[in-house]
């Protein structure tokens, strides 16, 4: 979901990745799994963790004997934060390495770049990051949160618990924040929030001078109504944003900020003492009190040989996606794409917050929404947990998509069925 203008990482990454990771000799008694995450360039900051998590999950599965009596073999490639390169690498994984499924991508741009490749070559991609929705592909499973699994419950929480009446929607200027803010604005207006009580602000990538905007927020918040900031600010720009908030003395008790892209990983680069009480909405926090999570964290620390490494929400999404795929392959008795696509719908696997997640016919999953407050130790205190929510691919709050649904079960097999005119093929792919 993040996207960043960058040219630099691409070149070096391209050189690195073509030489690396091709040592693995294709043996018939293994099932190959592709891992498509940037290990260099601007997105490496987020994506390397997911690569490690996938390697860990595959290792754990192999310890249990693999799948269908075969060991899993990871094939790691580095698309170097370069969107077109994602498509090339995906093609390489599917055609040359003959992987059974691919786990990867972070930004929406990279997902959009590989989508036609997966559809053309009929392979499967598991996408583990929260995104803006408005998409449903036969070959992609979206295990991260759709806007209704993150943004809307967060706004509900602030409205009901904190009594917020005035909203600042602050985001980085690209597709994820814009779509999310559009949905949120429509949602807030449907809840009776007046137009002048919503302030929308966009900033460029890597924005580091937040003085004006923070003081604007302060001004906006002094109109006598409880105010909150809903932040879709991209990971990198968050540190200076939160530093400025702290320095200008905006406390969470006065104007809380709820963020959708700030997790344990992002807070690791930050002194969180002045930020205590600011919120984040995810489907998982490392602080979740569940035996399955404790076990996961233990394995993660052992695998990375570092007991300070944090876990985060996209890791959980990768975990759910991987478990669901394993279960579907076992049920189908083969890794053949069409067979797996049939069996995976309806598969339920445990998630890390102590419940189960089910793969729905729209290729999204069910999971609970957790609201957490930042603590001084960089972890989150969970202040609310909803029951499991079904990911809504086509938002009900946007006029373009409110009539669309997606159902990949036969006989409908359609990613954009229009319930108003009963035809498959509305907007989007």
């Amino acid at each position: 979901m993040k996207l960043k203008a960058h040219v630099t990482g691409a070149l070096l990454g391209a050189i690195l990745s073509t030489t690396a990771f091709h040592g693995a000799f294709a043996a018939d008694d293994t099932i190959k799994v592709g891992i498509l995450h940037s290990l260099s360039g601007t997105m490496a900051i987020s994506e390397t963790t997911l690569k490690d998590a996938m390697l860990m999950l595959i290792e754990e599965q192999n310890k249990k004997g693999g799948i269908l009596g075969k060991k899993l073999e990871p094939v790691v490639v580095d698309p170097a934060s370069d969107w077109p390169l994602f498509a090339e690498k995906a093609r390489e994984l599917i055609e040359k390495d003959k992987v059974a499924a691919v786990f990867g991508c972070w930004t929406s741009s990279s997902r959009k770049s590989v989508l036609p490749v997966f559809e053309e070559l009929n392979s499967i991609l598991f996408y583990p990051v929260q995104y803006e929705g408005e998409e449903s592909s036969r070959n992609i499973f979206y295990t991260g949160a759709a806007p209704n699994q993150q943004a809307i419950p967060a706004v509900d929480y602030l409205m009901n618990t904190e009594g917020v009446e005035r909203w600042v929607l602050a985001g980085t200027d690209y597709v994820y924040p814009q779509t999310t803010n559009k949905i949120l604005q429509a949602y807030l207006e449907s809840k009776g929030v007046a137009k002048e009580d919503i302030m929308i602000n966009y900033t460029p990538f890597g924005h580091s001078d937040w003085q004006t905007i923070v003081s604007d927020i302060k001004k906006f918040g002094s109109a006598g109504k409880k105010t909150a900031v809903v932040s879709t600010i991209n990971g990198d720009a968050n540190v200076p944003f939160y530093k400025e908030l702290g320095n200008q003395g905006i406390k969470a008790e006065d104007i809380p900020v709820v963020a959708f892209s700030v997790g344990e990983e992002e807070l690791a680069g930050l002194d969180t003492a002045p930020l205590v009480g600011h919120l984040a909405a995810w489907n998982y926090f490392q602080s979740v009190d569940a035996p399955v999570n404790a076990e996961f964290i233990k394995t993660w620390h052992a695998f990375t040989k570092n007991d300070k490494r944090v876990t985060n929400d996209p890791m959980e999404a990768a975990y759910i996606g991987f478990s669901a795929w394993v279960k579907a392959v076992e049920a189908a008795g083969t890794t053949d794409t069409d067979a797996v696509l049939d069996t995976i719908i309806g598969v339920s696997v445990p998630n890390l917050s102590g419940g189960t997640s089910t793969v729905m016919p729209n290729h999204h999953i069910t999971k609970p929404v957790l609201i957490g407050e930042i603590q001084a130790d960089g972890q989150f205190e969970i202040v609310q947990q909803t029951p499991a929510v079904v990911g809504d691919e086509w938002s009900d709050f946007l006029p373009d998509s409110k009539d669309l649904i997606s159902d990949w079960r036969k006989p409908m097999s359609c990613g954009n069925f229009n319930v108003a005119n009963g035809k498959c093929g509305g907007k989007g792919s």
């Binding site: 003085q211 604007d216 002094s222 540190v239 702290g246 990983e265 001084a376 202040v383």
Partner: protein, 534 residues
């Protein structure tokens, strides 16, 4: 009849409540362990209504998230870290109550709403504290979150108060509470005047809140007060914009000033400049890590220690780059551009491999945290120090170039290499030193930027374009040009931002610079003389 019974019943309850509360404070704390947020908020109110100052430390611990319930019996204690265990303290008596493993305790959760409730409860409880500073704090916290309930408390405190400063703060707190109480309108009018006199954003917020529920008679008064505060605010907004501009400008100056040497003076298109800034920031991180682990007392000095270290580290890296790569490429700008770009990628990936791809935490020393008010301006300490620091670095560099033998040689070599060489100056050596100086300056800029930005391998990329923009705009080869260029770009940016937004503002600035360069290709301060033809 029934009604009478019920009211009698409540009367009894209320009459008994205060005396019961004393004994029950402990029970109330224990109840927190099982309460949800709403119930906990009520419990905090009840605890506060005991009026017992002994509950203050426990409430403070609660706000900080240090209250724990023992799983075995549900008793609630204040917990402080003691190795792997937590040392327990009784919330009422303050006596030690042994240690417990973390697993045997559950944290009593606290959220924003609760913290707010605790803060206002504490405000009421500490109003009569013997300590002047605590009373001041209590008055200020009531001013921030006034309630009609605390009005009487404030008035009692006011009649006992002897200190002038605290008295003034209490007057303000009283006015704020009075506005939302049901006192007669004359008193309220006086309160509006008091708040109007305080001015500032906080008062604006108080008045706007009051306006929503105000009596028709009072509304004109409040509206006039709001208007008058807003007028003053908009005057100050101008000054605030200039300050923000200066502060942004000084960040640009810091980022660009090293480039003003390597690109401006030497003419090397140095794409690895941003990575020198990044290395400086990482040096700060390493220095802070060492200090954290070996001498935590020195933490406030960490930046001062990091400055020379960063200068030496990045200077040395610059020296190696110049001797190893750039010196073979003088006079071939395109190849220099590609080579330095390659170096920048190598440095980025090297840092990524050594420190990991994640952001590293560089702490702010205490003297760089927070803000202070200057009239209607909010000035954050870190920005103020960075502005001052940028000026000092600029002055240092100017002195070095204009007043020292080394600076003289540098200028001589850039202005006319062959003549300088025939005068006996070792031009290769001067080149190397100049490049090292530029890199070193970029490194100390990195120390400053680590205070306001991410310390990640991508840090440099964010500044490289801006740096080139400043140097080209200001005039290549002229330090004063860089100064004026950076500050004017900063201020221009900050004046555009409020009206057109940050994204469009940035684009507009870029367009203006392009137009300006069309008109004056050599920037604000063009160099005259032989160098121009070179």
């Amino acid at each position: 009849m029934l009604i009478r019974f019920i009211s009698l019943f409540f009367l009894i309850i209320f009459a008994v409540a205060p005396s019961m509360a004393q004994e029950d404070a402990r029970a109330l704390f224990d109840a927190l362990g099982k309460a949800n947020f709403k119930q906990a908020e009520e419990l905090v109110g009840k605890i506060a209504s005991t009026g017992d100052p002994k509950v203050v430390p426990a409430l403070e611990a609660f706000a900080d998230g240090n209250l724990y319930a023992r799983k075995s019996d549900g008793a609630v204690f204040i917990g402080t870290a003691a190795g792997a265990n937590l040392a327990l303290t009784d919330p009422m008596s303050g006596e030690k109550a042994g240690e417990e493993a973390k697993g045997a305790l559950t944290k009593v959760k606290v959220n924003n709403g609760l913290r707010r409730a605790i803060r206002s409860a504490l405000g009421g409880l500490t109003l009569l504290s013997p300590d002047k500073a605590i009373r001041m704090e209590a008055a200020q916290s009531i001013l921030k979150s006034p309630s009609a309930d605390s009005l009487e408390l404030v008035e009692t405190a006011l009649s006992n108060e002897t200190d002038m400063a605290v008295k003034a703060a209490l007057e303000e707190a009283r006015a704020a509470s009075l506005l939302i109480s049901d006192r007669p309108i004359e008193e309220k009018k006086a309160a509006v005047a008091t708040i109007k006199a305080i001015g500032g954003q906080a008062s604006l917020s108080l008045l706007s809140t009051a306006l929503n529920s105000a009596d028709e008679m009072l509304k004109p008064d409040i509206e006039a007060a709001i208007k008058s505060i807003q007028d003053t605010q908009s005057l100050w907004a101008m000054a605030q914009n200039i300050w923000y501009g200066l502060s942004l400008g000084s960040v640009l100056l810091l980022a660009a000033i090293g480039l003003a040497i390597t690109f401006g003076v030497m003419g090397i298109i140095n794409m690895a400049h941003g990575e020198m800034v990044m290395l400086g920031a990482y040096t700060t991180f390493v220095v802070q890590e060492i200090i954290r682990n070996s001498a935590p007392g020195l933490f406030d000095w960490s930046l001062a220690i990091a400055l020379p270290v960063a200068f030496l580290v990045t200077g040395a890296v610059g020296l190696v780059i110049e001797r190893g790569v750039i010196r073979f490429l003088y006079g071939r700008p395109l190849e220099t551009l590609l080579a330095t770009w390659g170096i920048s990628l190598i440095l980025q990936q090297a840092v990524r491999s050594i420190f990991g791809a994640n952001n590293r935490e560089v702490g702010n020393p205490s003297w760089m945290s927070g803000a202070f008010e200057l009239g209607g301006l909010t000035i954050t300490w870190n920005r103020l120090w960075i502005v001052l620091f940028a000026m000092v670095v600029f002055a240092f560099l100017l002195f070095l170039l204009k007043k020292t033998p080394m600076g003289l040689r540098m200028r001589a070599v850039t202005q006319n290499r062959r003549m300088a060489s025939s005068m006996g100056i070792r031009t290769p050596w001067v080149d190397a030193m100049t490049f090292a100086l530029g890199s070193g300056i970029a490194g100390i800029a990195g120390v400053a930027l680590s205070q306001i930005d991410n310390v990640s391998p991508n840090l440099g990329q964010g500044y490289i374009i801006d740096s080139f923009m400043v140097v080209v705009f200001g005039g290549v080869g002229n330090l004063w040009g860089t100064l004026v260029g950076a500050l004017s770009l900063g201020i221009l940016n900050k004046f555009l931002e409020p009206s057109v937004g940050a994204v469009l503002g940035k684009i507009l600035v870029l367009v203006l610079i392009i137009l300006f360069i069309q008109k004056r290709p050599r920037g604000l301060f063009a160099l005259k003389g032989r160098a121009v033809e070179a």
